[in-house]
Amino acid sequence: MTPSGVLAASASGGDLFVAQNVFFGVIALVMIVSAIRCVTTRNVVHAALWLVLVLAGAAAQFILLGSEFVAVTQVLVYIGAIIVLFMFGIMLTKASMGDDDSVATEKRLMASLVAVLLAVVMGIALIDSYSDTRVVIDEPQRFGAVSDAIFSQYIVAFEAVSVLLLAALIGAIVVARKE
């Protein structure tokens, strides 16, 4: 048992992590099923709830990879904020019970085209950069290491993103505001 880290001691078993691989498969299966149900269900609230499962699965995969910070941020930002805003918006406008046949079907073709295109682009990029590389995770990535990197190596990018977000925030207020 390592005394610290969300990830229990696992690195001692050499290169092949059996438990990690099994759970990767299980979580990936849940994610795929939820993602398919998310786009095929005719109920908007159900779609949002299926999306929660997909995002939670992504967080779980990050934990399996030893990236504690990314996993928790995934939960905080996506599940805790974005999905909640989605559902809040849906319920404020229309939250009909049962299936809703007016849920757009005519845009299915374009949507699937975009999805396939995105998958191809990301797939090529991933295979191109990592085709033969074996990523060995000796130990989980520490929170402190992440913040050290952000505030030294990537400080310019970090500040740029902060200013961009602030501008977007002010822009949103200006757009939404009525005189």
């Binding site: 559902m87 019970m97 520490r142």
Partner: protein, 343 residues
């Protein structure tokens, strides 16, 4: 204790932690309901409260649980069955996950991770999904209104809650709750280390903001618009009965206990009491009890305020969060940061 834990295998340690988690949630929720909801409020209103079941009504809670378990678990006809039935479990899951980061002694912890308080804040926001599920799944306008009010309130008060914590994190130089306790135990006030340095002294503004935001996050009066009984019956819980109502009820009080425990760890020194060595093995037994004592004191405050103040209006609530608590918390962070660098 260390040697004992080292000899146990992984699954044994995990089972012990699981049992401890269950006890921590149920025992704390039960104590709060009996001591505060049944007895304290009765004395405040010059009555005795439950007296029949057991000595001084101490078994009243078991009678209540028996009552709820016998009740029919009704699902409204137009409700979304699965979402409706799953909602209380989502809320309760969030409570249990919150508990995981709490340290009860030098070796008595569930997990100890550098994420600490950040993890706690992240999983506490998951309960909002459960509340929205309950509000929508019930197919009732009172439930939906209650769910929407709850969501707006929880989003608004998560911000001051998080910002109030930042001051403590800056001072302790860590997010790990165990190390925050040790930082307070080993701290000194201008070279005087007799009582350590509980952050309630140096972070008093942060403590006040945290307690106010916590009161709102727990939807306790004066922030109880989501369950305002004179307007919305009981908000998102309106359609629930039997076991599922009981789950929401346990969740409400267990969350009050867990949030108070987090406040105790951040500001009151957690499991530590002055005068003893924080590495002492004694704390593995004494620590959880000390923490529990501090939780009872803090929840006493919560329920005292709950039964004393009238309800806010919706706009007053939002104004308090955005125009008062958030700027105050930001100022607290700036002052703490400057002092940290200068002193």
């Amino acid at each position: 204790m260390i040697s004992l834990l080292a000899e146990l295998s992984y699954w044994q340690v995990t089972s012990i932690r699981l049992a401890a988690g269950l006890v921590a949630v149920l025992l704390v929720a039960g104590t709060l309901v009996y001591a505060h909801l049944f007895k304290m409020v009765s004395f405040m209103q010059s009555r005795l409260g439950p007296m029949e079941a057991g000595p001084y009504g101490s078994l009243q809670l078991l009678a209540e649980i028996g009552k709820f378990l016998q009740k029919e678990d009704i699902v409204p006809r137009r409700a979304d069955r699965f979402v409706f039935k799953a909602a209380p479990f989502v809320v309760l899951t969030s409570t249990f996950l919150l508990l995981v980061v709490l340290p009860g002694g030098p070796d008595a912890w569930f997990i100890t991770t550098d994420l600490g308080i950040y993890l706690a804040m992240a999983v506490s926001s998951v309960s909002v999904i459960g509340i929205l599920m309950a509000g929508w799944g019930s197919a009732s306008k009172y439930s939906l209104l209650g769910g929407l009010r709850a969501t707006g309130q929880l989003i608004a008060y998560e911000l001051p809650l998080l910002l109030a914590v930042v001051g403590v994190v800056i001072q302790a130089e860590t997010m790990n709750l165990q190390e925050i306790v040790l930082a307070q135990a080993n701290g000194e006030i201008f070279g005087w280390g007799l009582i350590g340095n509980p952050f309630i002294l140096t972070q008093f503004a942060g403590f006040v903001i945290f307690m106010i935001a916590m009161q709102a996050e727990l939807t306790q009066t004066p922030f109880d618009m989501p369950v305002a009984e004179s307007e919305l019956v009981t908000g998102y819980m309106t359609e629930y009965s039997g076991l599922r109502f009981l789950l929401f009820f346990i969740g409400e009080f267990a969350t009050a206990g867990v949030f108070s425990a987090i406040a105790a760890v951040l500001f009151l020194g957690g499991w530590y009491v002055p005068g003893l060595d924080p590495a002492d093995n004694l704390f593995n037994v004494l620590g959880p009890l000390v923490l529990m004592g501090k939780v009872v004191v803090l929840t006493f405050l919560v329920f005292w305020i709950r039964f004393t103040f009238p309800r806010f209006r919706e706009d007053q609530l939002q104004r308090l969060a955005w125009k008062f608590l958030v700027p105050l918390a930001l100022a607290n962070i700036v002052v703490t940061g400057v002092l940290k660098v200068v002193v």
